[in-house]
């Protein structure tokens, strides 16, 4: 195999991420204790070694993969570790490093296990069922648990995880495979109702099933964020596969109806909306709106330049290390920091969609686009929540929030993207004439 210039750029970008990230962790350690950065050094070593090993495995297994995926994940993740370490140097900080290491093991495992991504399409029904099973798992009596009013967690012994994080990967694979198989059928509008043409109702099966599932998630787990995420990914993928905007409109209508019913039914959902509309009201600011208000105070206090790492008081925000990690960045690194993070996510999305566009098979395109859309929309939902652009719905910020389930699934996600991009770019480019003969795409 020829030398991989892409891997060399990846390495130099990784080194840049290490310098930035290790600098951030060192600053945080210094801000807490002037004399001693020693406790932070093992953390930096684990992170650097972890990413270097992942890089070496990529050199061996996917040398032609996109060179930006791993460095972007690394800088976001290490910056997140710095922020978590800043909040909890003895507890969540080191644990997050452990989770990162486990996440990288899953990243490597995915690369080694999935040699040909096209083959996972054949497991679509198994993965789809597993996905729905995982999604509904927290509802199971005994192991499911309510945290902060939403039932998203599963407890097994002393371990707890959010199965929803993994479920979304399974479901995206299922959608991609299902849609790749049926996209022609779904795009043919064979029925006419009034002035509109609709495809046959039986092809709507999966759409309605997904609608039901996302509503179930919302109704029984009271988790508007996840249902919005699942539903929008599905709509986006349906749109990509069929190019029919009517699906999107119809789906949005269905979601709006579901959301309205949810709003009318659940005090929990109503409260979120009321708090969003009027967070600084005396009634909410020290009660239901406390967390959001503190997030906004953190961001506003940060201003353009931030207070400096370790110099602010983001620890006032309840549970800052999970859903509100972005506000921690905002307080201590200011708009410059939040804009940089936003840009990293945007770049990650751009690379993901680029991979999708250059992939030559339907399943690969849909899978890459779907995985990227998860990342983009999940990021948007939580950032819009903590900045009060939209009502807050608890969901993790990929790579940055504290939590094993989230890190694992996001590392698997970029491993799949890396695999797709490698296979696309290492295959010989198709002859243009051949494409014309087949009819192109």
């Amino acid at each position: 195999m020829q030398a991989a210039p892409r891997r060399n750029s990846e390495l130099s970008l990784l080194i840049l991420a290490f310098i930035l990230g290790a600098g951030a962790i060192a600053l945080v350690a210094l801000a807490r204790n002037t004399k001693d950065i020693a406790p932070a050094i093992p953390l930096m070593v684990v992170l650097i070694v972890g990413y270097v090993v992942a890089h070496i495995v990529m050199r061996r297994t996917v040398p032609q993969a996109d060179p930006l995926l791993l460095p972007l994940a690394a800088i976001l993740n290490i910056l997140g570790v710095a922020a978590i370490y800043r909040l909890s140097p003895e507890g969540f900080g080191p644990t997050q490093v452990t989770w990162t290491a486990v996440g990288l093991v899953f990243f490597i495992g995915t690369l080694l296990l999935v040699r040909d991504y096209k083959r996972i399409a054949s497991y679509k029904y198994i993965l789809g069922s597993v996905g729905i099973g995982l999604l509904l798992l927290p509802l199971a009596p005994g192991i499911g648990q309510n945290i902060n009013g939403a039932r998203l967690w599963v407890h097994l012994g002393s371990y707890s995880f959010q199965p929803g994080e993994l479920a979304k990967l399974c479901l995206v694979i299922f959608f991609a495979a299902y849609l790749a198989e049926r996209k022609e059928l779904l795009s043919i509008a064979s029925r006419k109702i009034g002035p509109f043409h609709f495809p046959d109702i039986k092809h709507f099966g999966p759409l309605l099933v997904m609608w039901a599932v996302s509503l179930a998630v919302m109704f029984f787990e009271k988790d508007l964020g996840s249902s919005l995420l699942f539903f929008s990914i599905f709509l986006v993928m349906l749109y990509i596969a069929t190019a029919r905007a009517v699906y999107v409109s119809f789906g949005m209508l269905l979601f709006a109806i579901g959301a309205y019913i949810g709003y009318e039914t659940f005090a929990h959902v109503q409260q979120r909306v009321l708090v969003w509309k009027d967070v600084f009201n005396e009634r909410y600011i020290n009660n239901e709106g406390y967390q959001l208000a503190q997030s906004l105070f953190a961001l506003a206090t940060g201003g353009l330049f931030g207070t400096g790492l370790g110099q602010g008081r983001p620890d006032i925000i309840p549970a800052a290390h999970t859903d509100f990690i972005f506000s921690v960045i905002g307080e201590e690194l200011g708009l410059l920091g939040t804009a940089a993070v936003l840009l990293c996510f945007l770049l990650l999305v751009a690379r993901g969609l680029r991979i999708a566009m250059s992939t030559r098979d339907d399943f690969g395109q849909l899978l890459a686009a779907g995985l990227t859309t998860i990342l983009g929309i999940q990021t948007f939902i939580i950032l819009a929540g903590v900045t009060r652009l939209l009502p807050l719905t608890g969901i993790t910020l990929p790579f940055m929030s504290y939590g094993g389930s989230s890190l694992l699934s996001n590392f698997i996600l970029i491993a799949l993207l890396a695999r797709i991009s490698h296979e696309t770019d290492s295959a010989p480019p198709p002859a243009h004439t051949a494409e014309i003969l087949i009819g192109g795409r």
Binding site: T34, G302, G303, L346, L353, M357, Q365, I377, T379, R388
Partner: protein, 489 residues
């Protein structure tokens, strides 16, 4: 499928742009208003992580200090002198904000003056935390204590000023309050105390009587009227006036009688010098009718009708111009009644202005700001507010005021071997209430070191028999006596 993927990409980018715009709004455009919300503890947490500077008196007594705590609000503000300085320092409270010196000099006390000194850099390197600067008052603790003792249980105020500089050496109002209780860490404790202060009332202990409550100055105002008469060039101390039993006022059937309900010098005529000595109301009422504009000019020169340039919030004293159709009011104004009101600080400035040769000093409470190394970071130079009269007039008024203490209504303020210049005041208030008693003075008359104003509300324990000479003058004398060893006279 590429076109659809491209559109999805554009869609996601637009969502991100929306987040970016919202971030600009929250972190830049609305940042100030969001961050300044009272529910944002960050400002307080930062402020309370700083060792706030001390407030000390001129002679080094610690009036306010910050001590380490073991919670996240790292320092606690304490006022070791209790309510003795409460009216001056004000308070620094997590629950009720700050006031007076604590408020005016907040940046200095926090060390937030924008200049990074070598010491600051060292403090940061060695993680000693930021330390604020010390604010040194012009108050002398010995005079402040004398003022508190002199007032005792009487409601009122005592102000002592160095005439040449305007430095306030003592300023005590009774009632006062102990700021420590408002600075308490326990919000319930602070709230209980705050509620006990009856903050919306005029008579709340939070109101500094010396600077913020106006009273009719009564006959002490005759010092101003005398100065105006002499400045007008139409009168001298020897100018004579009729001495009626009662003065008929224009535009009405009313008459004005002397406080003593008799003539001042046995009927016939009385000169201006004697009129001040015995505090003859009819003489000054006549002056009020003759030279109303001149009196207002001199009152303005002393600082009436403007907010005094003090370090802490104060209320202006008032000498309103009286329109032509209300002439009787002019007679009352000239004797410090009617619509005239003055704060004890203002009347202390009247005494200080005469003592200082007619130039009224700008009153102030802070001498300098001292940085953590002990170096003076900022010094407040004495300044004159303006001139109330010529030095020749001031000389004459001083002689007349000396006679008040030597042989007039103010004999209770006499000090053996020292010439004291003074003026009594007994101000009528509303019907049925005892008069407010005043005394203003300075000493030594030929080389003034200290000017004092004393106000005792409603005559204190003397009740309806109270006069400025009997109630207030002895208290002023106590302050003068206390100042003698300090200023060595």
């Amino acid at each position: 499928m590429q076109p659809q993927i491209r559109r999805v990409g554009i869609g996601i980018m637009l969502l991100f742009v929306a987040v970016f715009l919202q971030l600009n709004y929250v972190q830049i455009f609305a940042a100030k208003s969001i961050a300044s919300n009272g529910a944002n503890q960050r400002r307080l947490l930062r402020e309370y992580s700083i060792k706030r500077g001390d407030i000390i008196t001129l002679n080094g007594v610690q009036v306010a200090r910050s001590v380490k705590t073991n919670n996240e609000y790292k320092y606690l503000r304490q006022y070791p002198q209790g309510e003795l300085y409460g009216q001056i320092t004000g308070y620094y409270s997590r629950w009720y904000g700050s006031d007076r010196i604590e408020r005016t000099y907040n940046d200095e006390l926090l060390g937030d003056v924008g200049v990074l000194s070598m010491q600051d850099i060292q403090d940061r390197l060695f993680d000693r935390g930021t330390r604020g600067e010390t604010v040194r008052l012009t108050i002398d603790s010995r005079l402040q204590e004398a003022a508190q003792q002199a007032l005792g249980d009487n409601r009122g105020a005592i102000v002592a000023i160095e005439p040449s500089t305007g430095e306030i050496r003592a300023m005590y109002s009774n009632p006062s309050f102990d700021p420590s209780q408002l600075a308490a860490q326990d919000s319930k404790e602070a709230e209980r105390f705050w509620n006990s202060l009856d903050v919306t009332s005029r008579t709340s202990p939070l109101v500094n009587i010396a600077t913020s409550r106006g009273y009719p100055p009564g006959s002490t105002f005759k010092v101003v009227t005398t100065a105006a008469a002499l400045e007008s060039g139409r009168y001298t101390p020897e100018s004579t006036f009729p001495d009626p039993l009662e003065l008929e006022l224009p535009q009405t059937d009313e008459t004005l009688t002397n406080f003593s309900k008799s003539t001042c010098a046995g009927g016939g005529e009385i000169d201006l010098f004697t009129a001040l000595t015995v505090s003859c109301d009819t003489t000054y009422a006549i002056l009020g009718l003759k030279i109303p504009d001149e009196i207002k000019d001199v009152a303005d020169g002393f600082g009436f009708n403007t907010r005094l340039p003090l370090d802490i919030a104060s209320e202006p004293s008032n000498y309103p111009a009286v329109p032509d159709n209300k002439e009787p009011l002019r007679a009352y104004s000239a004797i410090g009644q009617g619509n005239v009101n003055a704060t004890p600080l203002q009347m202390a400035l009247v005494a200080a202005g005469v003592a200082n040769g007619g130039d009224v000093p700008s009153p102030h409470l802070v001498r300098d700001v001292i940085d953590p190394t002990g170096k003076i970071a900022r010094h407040f130079e004495p300044d004159a507010m303006g001139s109330a009269m010529s030095s020749a007039t001031a000389q004459t008024v001083t002689e007349m005021m000396t006679a008040v203490v030597d042989e007039g209504t103010g004999t209770a303020a006499q000090i053996e071997g020292i010439k004291v210049a003074g003026k009594t005041g007994t101000a009528q208030t509303v019907e049925g209430q005892n008069p407010h008693t005043w005394f203003i003075c300075f000493a030594p008359a030929d080389n003034p070191k200290i000017a004092v104003a004393v106000l005792v509300e409603n005559g204190g324990s003397f009740g309806s028999e109270a006069t400025g000479g009997a109630v207030a003058a002895p208290l002023a004398k106590q302050i003068l006596e206390a100042d003698r060893p300090i200023d060595k006279w």
